[in-house]
């Protein structure tokens, strides 16, 4: 199914969770934050958040900035 990840269309398996997506992308939990359909998903809820077709996700990170 299709999702929008960081502004780009991606295909993922049905029933992929946020936790699964983060792992699939190779990011260590605790180093990134995830916005799911315009709401932040706390890490403890990543396993329980199952993606649906056309969901919009952002995987973000704090970086150096002034």
């Amino acid at each position: 199914m299709k999702i929008i990840l960081n502004g780009k269309e991606e295909q993922v398996e049905e029933r992929t969770t946020v936790a699964g997506l983060v792992k699939l992308k190779g990011f260590a939990p605790g180093t990134v934050i995830v916005e799911y359909n315009n709401e932040l998903v706390k890490q403890e809820n990543w396993d329980a958040t199952v993606l649906k077709s056309d969901d919009r996700l952002e995987i973000l990170r704090f970086v150096g900035g002034g």
Binding site: I33, F62, G64, G65
Partner: protein, 256 residues
């Protein structure tokens, strides 16, 4: 000397704020914080780049610092509000530096959108420190919108050009009943001291420290300069005059 800067319920003893961009290695950051004693540290929020394994910047910032995420990348108030909410939800605390920029060459802030974002976020309980062009009317609107401080630029971000906006910043210091923090453009410790001598509440420095040959030593130099400038401000500098006024007595000369 008990000289405390109160912002958003925090009592700060250190008037140098640190930006964390552009360090050649993030390993400098804890050292810079230690030598300068900074208590407020800015970070940014970005999409991850799968091609490039970046470090989690928060891991390099000592726990007792106030983390102040900025809204860099925001082009309007709504985008700034979204970034601020995300950062707070992610556990960053409730401080935010509003940065709304539509000009890519000079990176000058959009004061109108900044006022809008400030009003929304202050209403949601954020401690809002807006980065702004030093304009008195805009600064008054930021006060009315609930800002905790105003942060006028000294010169364009990252330019190291110093306090080019000095006369306008001086007017803000004179007229605005909030801490005025000079943010952006400060390139040398002497310029930080200059801002503090004229009554700025603090200065925020990033590029000048991060891109110095020795960032840790430069952070130490900035820390001393900010303290010296603040001490001089509190000591009330003497007046300036056009012609010489002898410092030694004008009587009792050894001559015929």
């Amino acid at each position: 000397m008990n000289d405390v800067l109160k912002i958003g319920g925090q009592e700060l003893n250190n008037r140098l704020f640190l930006g964390t961009g552009k360090f050649s290695s993030n390993k400098y950051i804890p050292e810079v914080v230690r030598i300068s004693g900074v208590q407020v540290v800015t970070v940014a929020l970005r999409r991850v780049d799968p091609e490039y394994e970046e470090e989690n910047i928060a891991a390099f910032v000592p726990q007792d610092c106030v983390l102040m995420p900025n809204t860099s990348g925001a082009r309007n108030a709504q985008e700034a509000v979204r970034i601020a909410r995300l950062a707070r939800a992610a556990g960053c605390g409730n401080w935010v530096k509003i940065e709304v920029i539509t000009d890519n060459r000079y990176l000058l802030p959009d004061n109108d959108e900044t006022v809008k974002a400030t009003e929304i976020l202050a209403g949601e309980g954020f401690v809002v420190l807006p980065y702004m062009s030093p304009d008195l009317a805009a600064a008054k609107k930021l006060v009315a919108a609930g800002a905790a401080a105003v942060m006028p630029l000294g010169a364009p971000i990252g330019s190291n050009r110093g306090l080019k906006t000095k006369e306008l910043v001086r007017i803000l210091i004179d007229e605005i009943p909030l801490p005025v923090i000079v943010d952006a453009g400060i390139g040398r410790p002497s310029e930080a001291a200059e801002a503090m001598e004229m009554g700025a509440a603090a200065v925020l420095v990033n590029t000048a420290i991060a891109t110095a040959g020795d960032p840790v030593a430069m952070a130490g130099a900035f820390s001393l300069a900010v303290k010296a400038g603040r001490m001089a401000y509190l000591a009330e500098p003497g007046e300036t005059v056009e012609y010489a006024r002898a410092s030694s007595p004008l009587t009792g000369f050894l001559r015929d």
